[in-house]
Amino acid sequence: MSVRTLKGKRRWLALGGCLVWLAITFFPLYWVLITSFKTPIAVVGGPTYLPFVDFEPSLTAWSELLSGQRGQFFNTFLASTIIGLSASIAATFIGAMAAYALVRFTFRFRLLSALIFVAIAFGGFLVGRHVLGYGQGISLIYAFVAALALAVISSRFRLPGPELGNNDIVFWFVSQRMFPPIVAAFALYLMYTEMGKLGFKLVDSYIGLTFAYIAFSLPIVIWLMRDFFEALPVEVEEAAMVDNVPSWRIFFGIVLPMSKPGLIATFMITLAFVWNEFLFALFLTNSKWQTLPILVAGQNSQRGDEWWAISAAALVAIIPMMVMAGLLSRLMRSGLLLGAIK
């Protein structure tokens, strides 16, 4: 049923309900906006609602923020932008390729191969650490390389035990998002520091944080893109195969353009996640590559409840995402597939 089919009083009731809901959702944003223009006196002096009527707007908070009195604002903004964009683009791109492979090709492997990987990875680390006396970082690297190699080699043989397929792989990816991120963040921090001792600086570095975000975004990207690719008509790709178009050109020249709305939606979701991410940024950065959520949260802890300054910082964190969503939503329109089939 559409609102348009309602008549008379019920129609006004529906409209009124929608307006109330709109007000509820918009009020916090409005409140943040006007607070960022209030003077400290106006904030603590009780609630005021209308600029120029209730209170005299002031640019104090904004000038303090932009002049750098409140931490390395420009630096943080730049770090957030660079990391956000590059991590989302890389995650969407890599995840799309993985999702396409999972949709169009059949993978089969034995559960035993996966268990071999886990056993060698953990066991190898412990052996390297306590028996052979290697450092943590070196043990980790050796153990993982050995585990991966052995798992791949073992999958060549007909091992006993249950067989796993594409759906199990997808579940494995998605399951990584089921445990609390703090588990991964803490482990990642330890791993990064160990790598740092070996000479690869990962904590508070562009590479470190971006890698972490790509890894943590991939499950969602693969899961979303798999649905988009599954909806594509396979005949279009088959037509290209018969026409002797190489696989990589089918993917880049035909599949990706056809799934543009999906790619953009996935990119937006990933970007929103990376842009707002707090926990990893808190653990893995300290000054140079600090991101906006850390800065905004830091406002409160460093200087106390200076709501005018926090509001200005929060708005700066929101606006780029709104602009991005506005620009990209035009490209997200459906109907791109029209004319391919039927």
């Binding site: 005949e235 088959e238 037509a239 195969m241 026409d243 002797n244 056809m258 391919a340 089939i341």
Partner: protein
């Protein structure tokens, strides 16, 4: 020379065998139609020729080449799909020329091929449009254009007209036939529509459960179906069947069937059919052969249940004994439901099949 030879081809999906060993030779420049009910393996066979499915065993040769293990792109086939399968983000010209462009053909050559194809298919005015701005018939023409520029050894059509409306389907049928005559390229065409098969093919291959029931030119299929399946599948409305037995006697060989049917077997066929006296057989007669004018033709008693006036003639649907029976009667005849009418049968057009095996007998 681009004949296609399927030699002892089989296809299984897991434990399910879709195609038992299948042998099919298609001559150079021949237009072969694979026809059969859904699930009979015709599309799987076509996809194996294209390389989109791999044969479980056996070999496929196109021309002199063994292509059994070649990937689709290297087989030099062109395929037209039921749902067109156009590239939605490219214009008509880009759709047609994409394959050539990817293979590194010089631009001038691609343009020329696209223009030629567009001229043949009357697409000249639409070259700059996207597929979404075309009608169904135009889209299928673009798909055919894409197939032509490949200059393939074999054209493969997978029910290309099934998504079009009835009128357009008849037009496109003729267009594809003319195109084949013009290009003289071997073509394999899959359809479930027996009219399409009959009207287009040099040779029709009737398939059922992965087996070839009969492969012959359309007229042979119609006049001399090899078994009950082909007899029932080819022709619309389909052939009537009456079960009964052949009995020898003083008056010569007679067919005695359910519903007091007694038909004397014509002298010229009695010789060959004599061997089957006493056997359970099925008599087949097409509705269009129930209007015999000559007096003394054998008749069956039809209880009419429905009447379908078609204009040139009228169909009387009903039962002879327990068997469903459709008779073609003169348009002028005044019959209605629940009437009992005597339907004459053209003795020369009667088919006999052995009930046990379904094979045609007495030919």
């Amino acid at each position: 020379m681009s004949q296609v030879r399927l030699e002892q081809i089989t296809k299984s999906f897991g434990n399910v065998t879709v195609i038992p060993p299948l042998e099919l030779h298609i001559a150079d420049r021949e237009f072969v139609v694979l026809v059969g009910p859904s699930g009979c393996g015709k599309t799987t066979t076509l996809r194996m020729i294209a390389g989109l499915e791999t044969a479980t065993s056996g070999s496929i040769r196109i021309g002199e080449r063994d292509v059994t293990d070649l990937r689709p792109g290297l087989r030099n086939c062109s395929m037209v799909f039921q749902n067109y399968a156009l590239y939605p983000h490219m214009t008509v010209a880009e759709n047609i020329g994409y394959g050539m462009k990817v293979r590194g053909t010089p631009k001038a050559e691609v343009d020329k091929a696209v223009t030629d194809a567009a001229r043949i298919l009357n697409l000249g005015a639409y070259l700059g449009r996207k597929p979404s701005a075309l009608s169904g018939g135009q889209r299928q023409r673009v798909a055919i254009g894409r197939a032509i520029v490949r200059q393939p050894d074999v054209f493969l059509f997978d029910e290309p007209l099934s998504n079009l409306d009835a009128k357009l389907r008849i037009e496109m049928r003729t267009e594809i036939k003319l195109l084949h005559r013009r290009l003289q390229t071997t073509a394999v065409y899959v359809t479930h529509d027996q009219v399409e098969a009959m009207t287009m093919a040099d040779r029709v291959v009737v398939m059922n459960q992965g087996r070839i029931e009969q492969a012959a030119d359309p007229i042979t299929l119609y006049e001399a179906p090899a078994n009950l399946f082909v007899a029932a599948f080819i022709g619309a409305p389909s052939m009537n069947f009456i079960e009964g037995r052949l009995e020898g006697g003083d008056g010569g060989l007679q067919f005695k069937g359910d519903g007091d049917v007694a038909i004397k077997v014509p002298e010229n066929r009695a010789g060959k059919l004599g061997a089957f006296a006493g056997k359970e057989v099925v008599l087949g007669i097409r509705p269009e052969h129930t209007m015999a004018a000559d007096a003394g033709a054998p008749t069956v008693k039809l209880t009419v249940r429905d009447v379908e006036p078609l204009g040139p003639h009228t169909l009387a649907l009903g039962k002879v004994g327990q068997a469903a029976f459709t008779a073609q009667v003169h348009a002028a005849s005044r019959i209605g439901p629940d009437d009992q009418i005597e339907v004459p049968i053209e003795a020369a057009k009667i088919h006999f099949f052995l009930k046990e095996t379904g094979k045609a007998i007495g030919r």
